[in-house]
């Protein structure tokens, strides 16, 4: 076994040419954090402009570029790559594999991302400015009426799609083929399960997104009229295609987050996950349902009533498996021996706020009521509760939870808890009042607003600055840990942690499980 335990290459070539899942995971994580800060900067511009009624800082056209880039960078640059990074680090270690199944492709999946985002960001400096049609880029605003930079946007989306598809194929191949003997499907940690299902969603819908942007490209440059009624096309067709990708996409974002929470809550409850099997089935049903609910984003486009009813009922159904998950997490905590280290705090924050976002989701699914909610700040509040307090909180929990394992150093717990509380409070000051202004009638994506919305908007902006600033504390804590955190060597960093990744030495060596491990007992069950 292991005659030459070679370590990483030296210098920049280590990172450029690496096929090591841990290196690639690290790069994904740092890249996504950089994108999180960039997208966050755009958000600060938005909130600064909305601090008071009237136009103060930017012009309306530029404001739209900010909202568009903020959405695109956060969804495709921050959240999605961060979970791919986590998958890279953890899936091989969780299933007892030496690396990902397709390591060279893994290198490519990462390295095509930075140029894609560089290209997307460079549109800011192009004539006519960056894309300004929202992250949902509805035609014809994004075709006939778009700035020339839209072509670069389309190319960037294509590259992101290729990267995601390659990453997903890799995850599917790893999970299907590289599990250690004895690691049956129903013994896999939930994080692996949720990612396996997510990977299938990605493979299914990223090509649809690629199709949508290709049709845009044809409309813009090659004289077709897919999305133009004047030439026999249909602008609503765009929305159907986009949301056929877009709704599964929101679950692509949240399912790995569910997986993370399902690992961490049992660890700090010192009790196995409640209802492992039902968690797997709930995840699979959510994934299935996510394909048949897309038009709940389109209740006001004038669908026939049969369509409205179908999509309303199907969307309401998603609340059932989502509820099952929440109940299972709480039952896991019930009669455990709970402690509240930073990862657990973020998971409890997730549990409370994600559930709130689920409730507003249920409200939005009611078609007649959505006529009043649609495209207002109420929707903005909903999706930030599920995406920020859901996906981003769980990602943050994951970093605090596994970072000590990765680098063999402990983060500063007091600073971590401070980060949690500032985030939690800042987040709610930002987004809770957005429910109010939305219900009171404030449309989304506007650079200026009527006077009755002024107070809550100011509150929202203040909250956003607080939440934004707290992320710098996070950055500082992570860097301080990696560089000079207290060294630790216990294999199990947390006494309640379960799973194969906690059986390798701390810090995790460059190569793990070169020989398949014995799978002692199923993670998450007994």
């Amino acid at each position: 076994m292991g005659e030459h335990h070679h370590g990483p290459a030296q210098g920049i070539s280590r990172w450029l040419f690496t096929t090591n899942h841990k290196d690639i995971g690290t790069m994904y994580l740092w890249f996504s954090f950089a994108m999180f800060l960039l997208g966050g900067f755009f958000a600060m511009v938005i909130r600064a402009e909305l601090f008071q009624p009237g136009m103060q800082l930017v012009e309306p056209g530029f404001f739209n570029q900010m909202t568009t880039l903020h959405g695109l960078v956060m969804v495709f640059g921050a959240i999605m790559p961060s979970f791919v990074g986590l998958a890279n680090w953890l899936i091989p270690m969780m299933v007892g594999a030496p690396d990902m199944a397709l390591p060279r492709m893994n290198n490519w999946s990462f390295w095509i991302l930075p140029p894609a985002f560089l290209m997307l960001a460079s549109t800011l400096f192009m004539e006519g400015g960056a894309p300004a049609f929202g992250w949902t880029f509805y035609a014809p605003l994004s075709t006939t009426y778009a700035a020339p930079s839209v072509t670069f946007f389309i190319f960037a989306i294509h590259i992101l799609g290729v990267s995601s598809i390659m990453g997903s194929i890799n995850i599917i191949a790893t999970v299907m083929n590289m599990r250690a003997p004895g690691m049956t499907y129903m013994k896999m940690p939930l994080f692996v399960w949720t990612w396996l299902i997510t990977a299938f969603l990605l493979v299914a819908v990223m090509p649809v997104l690629a199709g949508a942007v290709t049709m845009m490209l044809m409309d813009i440059h090659f004289g077709t009229s897919f999305f133009s009624a004047a030439g026999g096309g249909d602008p609503v067709l765009f929305q159907h295609i986009f949301w056929f990708f877009g709704h599964p996409e929101v679950y692509i974002i949240i399912l790995p987050a569910f997986g993370v929470v399902s690992q961490i809550i049992p660890a700090f409850s010192r009790k196995p996950l409640f209802g492992y099997a039902s968690m797997v089935y709930a995840t699979a049903s959510i994934a299935f349902l996510s394909f048949i609910v897309w038009a709940h984003h389109m209740y006001t486009v004038g669908m026939p009533i049969a369509g409205e009813l179908f999509f309303m009922y199907a969307t309401m159904l998603i609340a059932v498996p989502t509820g099952v998950k929440v109940f299972n997490w709480i039952s896991t905590m019930w009669r455990g021996a709970l402690s509240f280290e930073t990862p657990m705090l973020f998971c409890i924050g997730f549990l409370i706020l994600f559930t709130l976002g689920g409730f507003t989701g249920l409200m939005l699914s009611i078609a007649p009521a959505d006529f009043q909610y649609h495209d207002t700040y109420f929707v903005v509040a909903h999706f930030h509760y599920v995406m920020v307090a859901g996906a981003v909180f769980s990602m943050t929990a994951a970093v605090y939870y596994w970072l000590p394992k990765w680098c063999g150093r402990m983060y500063n717990e007091a600073m971590g808890r401070t980060h949690f509380w500032i985030s939690f409070i800042g987040f709610n000051i930002t987004f809770f009042p957005q429910h109010f202004v939305g219900l009171a009638g404030m449309p989304r994506r506007i650079p200026d607003y009527a006077l009755q919305f002024a107070d809550f908007n100011m509150m929202s902006s203040i909250g956003a600055f607080i939440y934004g600033a707290s992320q710098l504390l996070f950055l500082y804590n992570v860097i301080a840990t990696v560089v000079a955190g207290k060294p630790i060597s216990d294999e199990k960093v947390w006494d309640g942690a379960e799973g194969l990744e906690w059986t390798v030495p701390t810090p995790a060596p460059y190569h793990t499980f070169e020989e398949p491990p014995l799978v002692p007992k199923p993670a998450g069950t007994i």
Binding site: P53, G54, M55, P60, G61, N64, A132, G134, Y138, P140, L141, S228, A229, A230, S269, R270, K271, P272, L273, F274, G275, T300, G302, I305, E308, L309, M312, M316, V320, G323, V324, F327, S331, T332, W334, A337, L338, M363, I366, A367, P368, A369, H374, T376, P433, H435, F436, L439, A440, G441, P443, R444, P447, D448, A450, L451, Q452, D455, M459, I462
Partner: protein, 283 residues
Amino acid sequence: MGRVFSGAVLAFLSPLAAAQNQINMSPGVTEIGADIFELHMLIMWICVLIGVAVFAVMFYSIYAHRKSKGHQASQFHESTKVEVAWTVVPFLILIAMAVPATSTLLEVYDNDEAELDILITGYQWKWKYEYLEESGEPVAFFSNLVTSQEEIYNTDEKGDNYLLEVDEPLVIPTNTKVRFLVTANDVIHSWWVPEIAVKRDAIPGFINEAWTRVPEEGIYRGQCTELCGAYHGFMPVEVHAVSRDEFDAWMAAKRGAAAAQTQLAMQTLSVDGLMDLTGKDDG
């Protein structure tokens, strides 16, 4: 800061502050608006109840099952019975929600038998209204934002209806079923007036339908709700609901003006006549 806190406190405590810091949907003035509002409140309260129950359990657990208090973890980890229960019970609750939701949706879609048809067309960045009637002079006009650039760029005091005021509002009669045919000329817009609970996307090349019956006279304001380019935030909707008599008088005046316009356009004038008409005599 001061304003933020006083604003927040007022919003919760004082009904007087309702217009300032409204925190809930308005039931509006129409029957459908009231139905939607009730539906919204019903679902919200059900969510609140479930939320309170679920979080009560969680917080109790956080309080009572702490390791720091020396609580020992049990090791139970599954129960088919409870899993079935918390799948079936929410499902039943959803059915209870779907019933009123379906009937309200049917009402919203009941576009038949309108007494007045109005074609609404979205433009970057204004609305055009056309009264579609079989007889009489056609009445059509654009409706533009009138809030001044000075107000928007903070060199002038902002008026009460900042960003929600137009030069020519849409005028409709009360107690009349009005059907809106909604379309657009360039990109997608969306025509929304919260108080009458009508929101419909305006899609170029397609015509959507919506309807209302406004029982009370009044001024109802709204905005475009689909991102439609740079000035999406600056194309408000203003609807004046007036009594039937007032509406007829308004319509007659509009028709008169329209007729005069048409006549003017149809006239064959000599050069002298044209000079007279424009009042420009360079003689």
